[in-house]
């Protein structure tokens, strides 16, 4: 049992923290939000220079091989700054997926591209009519002539708007499990429907019509790697949620001290004091579970990992809901405006709670994991 960070981990936290402070003022973020891409390629380069795009890439592919704790430190800081760059979708998740599949020279070159900050990949797995399921039901790949052709639809693809290469889950004949294919985003037959999400981050829905595709990893055998990558990404989101909640608690407590009504700070009302305390409690419970999730993310026992991460995401999703709602409520009218950053943190908190499985879904997953173990 040891909650201390290593020297390197502290240095990493400091580096990311400074980046957020310097490059992520609310004004700077505004101008990125309004730009056509919704984030900044220049800042992506900064992330690469700081080693953050290399962090999730294994050392054997030129990366830094960061683990769950390093990811947690980065994501917590990203949460406090409401970072818009698609690090989770376009670097972390594809890097985790590719490294778990351990697949050939092409995958290695993608990983190197991610590490260098030169390539953006995205993982497309959710299909229409799905909410949080992870296995494909509709998208199929078939062999035609020289190679594979992929047909189907994917929705809610994180970073799917910006990626140059898409890692797409599909079914193939004769295999029950999930297979993974890489397609170029500009390949003929790919249609992208990009959109901003409610919190200003970006995503896309994608349609594939007989798109030339390259298989990644064993046929029918990509499921476990996808699970692992999504679990790790869920743990990362938990940490980001904690960062968002830290920011909301801090802003709310400041506001309770400065906003005056009835001749005294609104924070003098016990009803509001208790609410702020409950926000803090939720945040601390979430922090504890995010730590457990960060450590579980490196666990290669799928059942143990799934249980710990489901428990963490359940806790974080509920906490994000409560803390987000109460932060808005305690700010009164100004809390529901677009102008104040509190509403932006609230929206990010909401998106986090609904990404990769909401609280109910995680609770079900946890219960099923327990039942399977019993």
């Amino acid at each position: 049992m040891d909650f201390r960070l290593t020297e390197e981990q502290r240095a990493l936290a400091d580096t990311v923290g400074r980046f957020i402070e310097r490059d992520y003022g609310f004004e700077a973020r505004w101008s990125m939000l309004r730009s056509p891409e919704g984030w900044s390629r220049g800042r992506w380069q900064r992330l690469a220079e700081l080693g953050l795009t290399a962090l999730p890439v294994p050392e054997r592919a030129g990366g830094l091989g960061g683990g769950g704790v390093e990811t947690m430190l980065v994501m917590e800081a990203f949460g406090r700054g409401l970072v818009l760059e698609p690090w989770l979708g376009c670097a972390f998740l594809p890097a985790r997926l590719l490294s778990a599949l351990d697949s050939g020279p092409e995958a290695r070159s993608w990983l190197e591209g991610i590490a260098a900050g030169e390539r953006l990949l995205a993982v497309a797995f959710t299909e229409p009519e799905q909410r949080y399921e992870r296995a494909p039901v509709e998208t199929r790949a078939v062999v035609e002539g020289e190679g594979w052709r992929l047909t189907g639809r994917k929705v809610s693809v994180l970073g799917g708007d910006a990626a140059d290469t898409l890692l797409v889950t599909a079914l193939i004949d004769g295999e029950a499990g999930t297979s993974l294919f890489a397609v170029r985003a500009d390949a003929p037959g790919v249609t992208r429907y990009p959109y901003p999400l409610q919190d200003g981050t970006r995503g896309a829905d994608l349609a594939f019509d007989r798109v030339p595709a390259q298989r990644v990893g064993p046929p029918g055998g990509a499921g476990p790697a996808l699970e692992w990558a999504l679990d790790a990404a869920t743990a990362a989101l938990c940490a980001e949620g904690v960062g968002v909640m830290d920011a909301l608690v801090r802003r709310t407590v400041d506001y309770l001290k400065t906003r005056r009504q009835f001749g005294r700070p609104i924070g003098a009302n016990q009803a509001l004091q208790h609410r702020a305390v409950d926000m803090l409690i939720e945040t601390e419970m979430a922090r504890s579970m995010a730590i457990e999730a960060a450590l579980a993310a490196d666990d290669d026992d799928p059942a143990r990992r799934a249980r710990a991460i489901a428990a963490a995401k359940f806790t974080v999703a509920r906490a994000c809901r409560f803390v987000g709602q109460q932060a808005v409520q305690l700010h009164g009218g100004i809390g529901v405006t677009h102008e104040l950053d509190v509403s932006h943190f609230f929206k990010r908190a909401t998106v986090i709670s609904l990404t990769f499985g909401d609280a109910d879904w995680q609770l079900a997953r946890y219960g099923e994991a327990l039942r399977a173990a019993a």
Binding site: T126, E129, V155, Y195, G200, Q261, Q329, G332, G333, T337
Partner: protein
Amino acid sequence: MQLIYTPEQQAFANEVRAFTRETLDPAVARKVLEGARLGREDFLGWHRSLHRKGWVGAGWPREFGGPGWDAVRQHIFDEVTADEGAPPLIPFGLRMVAPVIMAFGSKAQQARFLPRILSGEDWWCQGYSEPGSGSDLASLKCRADRDGDHYVVNGQKTWTTLGHFADWIFCLVRTASEGRPQEGISFLLIDMKSPGITVRPILMLDQEHEVNEVWFDDVRVPVDNRVGEENKGWTYAKFLLGHERTGIAGVGRAKRIVKRLWHVARQARSDGRPLIDDTRFRDRLAQVEIELRALEITLLRVLAAEAEKKTPGPEASILKIRGSEIQQTLTELTMLAAGPAALPYVREGEAGAPDVPWLSDEAFRFASGHYFNFRKTTIYGGSNEIQRNIIAQHVLGL
């Protein structure tokens, strides 16, 4: 004691439904059912149809042109029209300023303003809150200085709902600074076209324009436009807030949304099955429906009591608290039903919903936008914390 409708009440419900189906513009109904944002004319078209029928002014005495419905009929009307997708009647004129003018206004004010409120010719907005005076409304600073037979108004109001549509604003202004803050407030009716008024939009967190800042720069208002006595405005304002809280429960609309959610839960799929088979979700939906029923019966109790003693009592605050919470739960459940597909930012009134078959079901398109927007319901009309303070003090005597 009887909770089912009598044959006459049922006949009235049928009449309202038939009239609504015949008269309501289907394009407007579709917008309402989709939860799209309504324009000024969308509200007013329906208002005018009702006015022609003599159905505007529920709760108004007959002498002022109300239809003379009892509490149950008013409730039936709200429920049935909401169910059919009728836009709500904007409350600022009909339910807020009109009762004040009836109770405290001069005969001349009643003759001048009430018919135009009834007909929808004048759109009213509410100018109470200021940046520094929200919950503590009595601390308001917007000043009205007497100059002959005019007041000269200077200051700012904020959060003014649909002020950009309004012809008139009713304002609380400071006419004296001695004594308790409540004692120097007057109630003014101000023409929005008066020189010196500037309306500036405030974007809500779903990026929609719904509320405004209203600035007053040497705005001249005839003394004739003061309701009641100078410096007695606080009494009138409190009278009005009671009316606001009964209307704010939103039971009719909530019933429509519950119905829609059951439909959605049958359509949407989760883990390859209809979402309605997911007991976690179904239990949440069942629970909110039960809570809504409890609210509805409570509302009927309050309305019945009101019919006897006229002024809503502090128990009206219960309706505001529960009604707002239920509305929020419903927006949240809609968002949860959609899952990640609720998250794309789709501007109201724009096509381009994501490529998800059941998401093209209108109910989902604005799901998360509504969830965010509806955080307002526990803040406006006196925040739920303030409502709880009122109940604690005036109902429980704490």
